[in-house]
């Protein structure tokens, strides 16, 4: 049997004893400025006993203690026991109690009408700060279990120094921070399948061999130490380089070249008649008749 069992049993008995003892509710003593109807199931910090320094859970208050007003605005409040100033004893994992909805105190408006908030009165110190709205809710970090984890959690980004802040290049707004969230978008059609890629052949110029010069000749160099001499025999005749005209491409557009006369042309008698064409004139009636019958 584990040696912790008697210890746990003693702890349980003490808890039961403390639970049976009368306790003053903090929420009753301090009038709430705003009626609260529903408690949000927020995690409650474990209360530490004054004397024993042990962790105790706040039991759910009786039904008479709940205060519920007209549900004009729903808000949750976490009611917890006053925080102890004593040194917190190190708690082992087995001694932590899990809290559920039973540990949440819900104010009931029907049970006890809430007093009107007194603007002149100072705010109650016993009241805990309100929980952040749901839109700005942030995850609550779990307590570190080991010193190493605590050290890691402490190593946060240091707060910015006071002074002129340099704007970031690209601002990014966290949705949880701004409370702005993207609307639900309709389901998008699946993206079409990508078309098969077409490999393009790179155009490269064909390898062109440099033209061999027609007049190029090979000569053997004399060995080292000997002077070069002209080749025996007459020197080859040097020919002038040939210039081959490259045919010009056909012009794509043809424009007329207009050459206008510069001097006027004048003549007194351009045509000269050298004879007359005598029409066919039949001399007899018979010839005239033959002509008309030839048509």
């Amino acid at each position: 049997m584990s040696p912790r069992i008697p210890k746990l049993e003693a702890l349980l008995a003490r808890i039961q004893q403390n639970a049976a003892a009368p306790r003053v509710h903090a929420a009753v003593a301090a009038p709430a400025p705003e009626p609260i109807a529903i408690e949000e199931p927020a995690p409650t910090a474990p209360a530490v006993d004054d004397v024993s320094g042990r962790v105790t859970a706040t039991p759910p208050p009786p039904a008479e203690a709940r205060e519920v007003e007209a549900p004009l605005e729903s808000r949750a409040r976490l009611v917890a026991a006053p925080r102890a100033e004593a040194e917190v004893e190190e708690i082992e994992a087995e001694e932590v109690l899990e809290l559920d909805e039973r540990h949440i105190v819900q104010e009931d408006a029907s049970a006890e009408p809430a007093p009107q908030p007194d603007l002149a009165a100072p705010p109650a110190q016993a009241e805990e700060p309100e929980a952040p709205p749901p839109s700005s809710r942030r995850p609550i970090a779990e307590p570190a279990e080991t010193p190493q984890e605590a050290q890691i959690q402490v190593a946060h980004t240091p707060p910015p120094e006071s002074g002129k802040q340099v704007a970031a290049e690209a601002l990014s707004f966290d949705d949880d921070f701004t409370g702005v969230r993207e609307a639900a978008q309709p389901p998008r059609a699946p993206a079409p399948a990508p078309e098969p890629s077409i490999q393009l052949q790179s155009l490269r110029m064909p390898a062109v061999k440099p033209p061999v010069a027609p007049d190029e000749m090979e000569a053997e160099l004399p060995p080292a130490g000997e002077e070069t001499r002209p080749p025996p025999g007459p020197l080859p005749e040097m020919r002038a380089p040939r210039i081959e005209s490259v045919p010009k491409p056909e012009p794509t557009q043809v424009s007329a070249e207009v050459t206008r006369p510069t001097r006027p042309v004048a003549a007194a008698q351009v045509a000269e008649l050298t004879g007359t064409v005598k029409p066919e004139s039949p001399r007899t009636f018979g010839e005239l008749l033959d002509l008309t019958l030839s048509l």
């Binding site: 066919e280 039949p282 001399r283 007899t284 009636f285 018979g286 005239l288 008749l289 002509l291 008309t292 019958l293 030839s294 048509l295």
Partner: protein, 184 residues
């Protein structure tokens, strides 16, 4: 140049016998124009053409008789020939005529005819006269009735083409021009 044509004795009236004698002693008949015109319009085209050619043949024989012979007529000038034809038309009471040359085409212009309303009949008369005077195979086609009747003297083929053109609406001037250029 031929002198005036002497037409004396072309028609002789034998009053005791009640007959009319023509130049070649052939009996004639004096008929009113309205009667002959009505008769020409009443008979069929073939009969009208035949009557016109027969009447023209009578005129052609008169031309030859006056010219002396057919050869003389052919060897003579066009003016003498048209004069003889005009004399015969005038003795018959069918009007006068003159000759027009449209290039190679020979056209007779018959004017002042009491039968101008029957131009095709006059064309058949001219055809008969020339055919009888010249002994040639020819055809005459009426070109138009504008201020008289113009009659083309040509071959049978040319006459058929000109008639086709005229039926298509071609004017006789254009038809004669097309005929000169050999247009089909």
């Amino acid at each position: 140049m031929a002198s005036t044509v002497d037409v004396s004795g072309s028609v002789r009236f034998d009053l005791p016998s009640g007959t009319v004698r023509l130049a070649d002693d052939e009996q004639g008949l004096v008929v009113p124009v309205a009667v002959l015109s009505a008769l020409v319009k009443a008979v069929p085209a073939d009969a009208r053409a035949q009557v016109g050619r027969d009447l023209g043949a009578h005129l052609g024989r008169g031309m030859v008789r006056r010219a002396g012979s057919g050869r003389a007529l052919l060897d003579g000038g066009a003016e003498e020939a048209v004069t003889l034809l005009a004399a015969e038309l005038a003795v018959a009471g069918l009007g006068t005529c003159n000759l027009e040359r449209w290039g190679k085409a020979l056209v007779f212009h018959v004017d002042d005819s009491p039968l101008a309303g029957a131009g095709d009949f006059l064309a058949h008369v001219v055809e008969g006269a020339l055919a009888a005077a010249t002994t040639r195979s020819l055809a005459c086609t009426m070109l138009g009735g504008d201020r008289g009747v113009r009659v083309l003297v040509s071959s049978e083929g040319a006459a058929a083409r000109v008639r086709a053109w005229l039926e298509q609406g071609t004017s006789y001037g254009d038809a004669l021009l097309r005929l000169q250029t050999g247009g089909g």
